[in-house]
């Protein structure tokens, strides 16, 4: 008869006790480190947030008082001796942006949506190659598209600096964005809907136009607004091709201005600090437009989706 106490102790129990003792003895230290590092995380969060809020606050505080009626209805003016503060407005830039972005949209929407539909419908090697191309194109610095349009249209075909060339450069920025986002929207349409169409004997084209596209509208709107919000703020591709103007015109064939361009030129080529300061107004207006489009795309999509269900 052996006594239980005489047996060698279970190594597992011993080990467990050892581990628990180690864990317990280091608990205070581990908790301290944990709390410290979480504090660092929170600090990083606050710092990043503060930087970003500071930028927004700066834009509002420095830009808001410039925004007035003449800001939208007058062309830029050189202050005279008599009117030291009369800088006019950015009507030329606003009109220019509307013309350039509008034409770009007219071209980019059909091409982007149709190509996006193709990507959603086919899986062959052509579609895969196009998908890769789209990814590469969205990642390229946008100024390259401006250089391309310059080399192609102005150097090769001796076309003149004009708003429509800016539109062409922006099309190359918009189309990949629309393609990518609309592919996702088209793919999200349930297969059963398409099969219902097929079972009724509808052709592929009718299914695409009457069933898939209406069902994908919220996603497609998001795609278009997203592309717009990206294109509206672009400066780099425009500086090579649109020239400049100081008198508002609706003609896309003349030299044009645009809101980001007016900020860029206003800051770097400004004659007086007053004119530099004035760019804050344009910057604030531009940010509001871009954020409005960006937020609009989210809310509109969410709203339309809720309407349907």
């Amino acid at each position: 008869m052996t006594n239980i106490g005489d047996l060698p102790a279970d190594p597992i129990i011993e080990r467990r006790a050892l581990i628990q003792a180690t864990a317990r003895s280091s608990l205070a230290r581990r908790n301290l480190v944990s709390r410290l590092m979480l504090g660092v995380c929170a600090l990083a969060f606050v710092v990043a947030g503060a930087v970003l809020i500071w930028i927004v606050a700066l834009l509002i505080s420095k830009g808001f008082h410039w925004i007035s009626k003449p800001f939208f209805t007058q062309d830029p003016q050189t202050p005279t001796v008599f009117q030291q503060n009369n800088l006019g407005g950015i009507r030329n830039a606003i009109w220019g942006s509307i013309v350039i972005d509008g034409i770009a949209l007219l071209i980019a929407i059909p091409v982007g949506l149709i190509a996006g539909h193709l990507l959603a419908e086919s899986e062959n090697s052509f579609a895969n190659a196009v998908r890769k191309t789209t990814e590469v194109m969205t990642g390229l610095p946008s100024i390259l598209f401006g250089i391309f349009v310059y080399e192609f249209m102005i150097i090769k075909f001796h076309y003149r600096f004009s708003g429509i060339l800016g539109s062409l450069a922006l099309v190359m920025i918009m189309v990949p964005v629309i393609m990518k986002a609309s592919e996702i929207a088209f793919r999200a349409v349930p297969h059963s809907l398409k099969e219902a169409g097929l079972s009724l004997g509808l052709s592929k084209g009718v299914i695409a136009a009457r069933i898939v596209t209406p069902a994908a509208v919220p996603g497609l709107l998001t795609a278009v607004l997203l592309a717009m919000s990206r294109a509206v703020g672009e400066t780099a591709p425009l500086i090579w091709v649109i020239g400049n103007n100081y008198v508002a015109t609706w003609s896309p064939y003349k030299q044009q201005s645009a809101i980001p361009i007016s900020i860029y030129n206003g800051l770097l080529g400004a004659a007086s600090p007053l004119q530099q300061d004035y760019a804050w107004g344009s910057a604030l207006f531009l940010v509001v437009v871009v954020l409005f489009l960006n937020l609009g795309s989210r809310f509109l999509a969410a709203f339309l989706r809720r309407e349907r269900h």
């Binding site: 929170a42 710092v47 970003l52 700066l58 190509a115 610095p141 150097i155 400066t235 860029y264 800051l267």
Partner: protein
């Protein structure tokens, strides 16, 4: 929608034997048209992309013929003397990107961790959207803030302070004015921060909850869970996020052009002016000779090669990360 097929499927006047042919022929034709339109529009896009690449490459030919590899390794950029060496631009591009990443990577990852694991659930979505909105702010606005606010402040307070605390350390020595490589790096840091936060947050949020719970059950503290479970298993996704941010920093044009000073010499001091590939493309074209335009085309080709490959790498990493999460 439901009424049309019924009217179509019940044409009373057509003889029975004609029906299959009648249905089939238009269907085949419209399918052809359908694919024709689809492929037509997509081909337009593809052709433009090819034209884009071909045009830029051919436009750079005369510069390559003129300078050869000196275009990459030459240290002097002086269009007036027809000297086109892009090394100062490459160095400037690298410097600004490194400064931006050194600042943005630790901060961005910590912020992403905080967004997923520390912030109350209710605030998570609005804060995330806020971060994404900041990624949408046009770069000319960041450049403007850097140029109008940071640049004068840096000249008056930050640079002197930096020199006195580091005793004019090698990187921070010499004279300075308002714009500098360091300022460009700092502006880029603010610009890439939203990218890093948004993408790392996605990577961190896809870590399986079982892994976190497993670590919890072993008695790990919160930081141990984050540093030994969450961050290691989202490593691929975070690397992808950082790579994409690097691609953005390498190609940023306007904001950098506004704050870097456009100074075409290699200088060891970060407080001196500099230039980058992309910003040179924005500042050098005005009034340029055709050879200079061609040299800028060569810069564009180099820039395409760099940003496209870095961008591709980043996307590949993100794709691998998301596939790993599914398995």
């Amino acid at each position: 929608m439901s009424t049309e097929p019924t009217t179509e499927s019940a044409p009373p006047a057509v003889p029975e034997d004609r029906v299959p042919g009648r249905v089939k022929r238009p269907r085949a034709r419209s399918d052809g048209l359908y694919w024709g339109i689809l492929y037509g529009a997509t081909l337009v896009f593809v052709v433009v992309c090819v034209a884009f690449l071909v045009t830029l490459v051919t436009s750079s030919f005369s510069a390559w013929r003129h300078s050869g590899l000196g275009l990459i390794f030459g240290t002097t950029w002086n269009p007036d003397k027809e000297l086109y060496g892009a090394l100062p631009l490459l160095v400037g591009t690298l410097e600004t990107t490194i400064i931006a990443l050194v600042l943005a990577v630790p901060l961005g990852i910590l912020v992403a961790v905080a967004l997923v694991h520390l912030v109350p659930r209710r605030l998570r979505t609005p804060l995330s959207s806020f971060v994404e909105l900041l990624a949408a702010v046009p770069s000319v606005v960041f450049g403007g803030v850097g140029f109008l606010v940071l640049a004068p402040y840096f000249q008056q307070h930050f640079y002197p302070w930096l020199q006195s605390t580091t005793h004019s350390f090698y990187l921070f020595s010499g004279t300075f004015s308002t714009t500098s490589t360091l300022l460009a790096g700092i502006v880029l840091f603010v610009m890439v921060l939203p990218t890093i936060v948004a993408l790392s947050r996605d990577a961190i949020a896809t870590v399986p909850v079982e892994q976190v719970e497993g670590a919890m059950s072993l008695g790990a503290t919160k930081w141990q869970i984050l540093s030994r479970v969450v961050l290691p298993s989202s490593r691929t996704g975070i690397t992808g996020a950082v790579t994409l941010a690097a691609a953005r920093a390498l190609g940023e044009t306007i904001a950098v052009a506004m704050v870097i000073g456009n100074y075409f010499k290699i200088n060891h001091s970060l407080l001196s002016g500099g230039t980058t590939l992309a910003s040179a493309l924005a500042t050098q074209w005005d009034g340029a000779t055709s050879l200079t335009i061609s040299a800028l085309g060569a810069l564009a080709v180099i820039l395409i090669a760099i940003t496209a490959s870095v961008n591709y790498l980043g996307r590949a990493l993100l794709r691998r990360a998301s596939q790993g999460a599914l398995l």
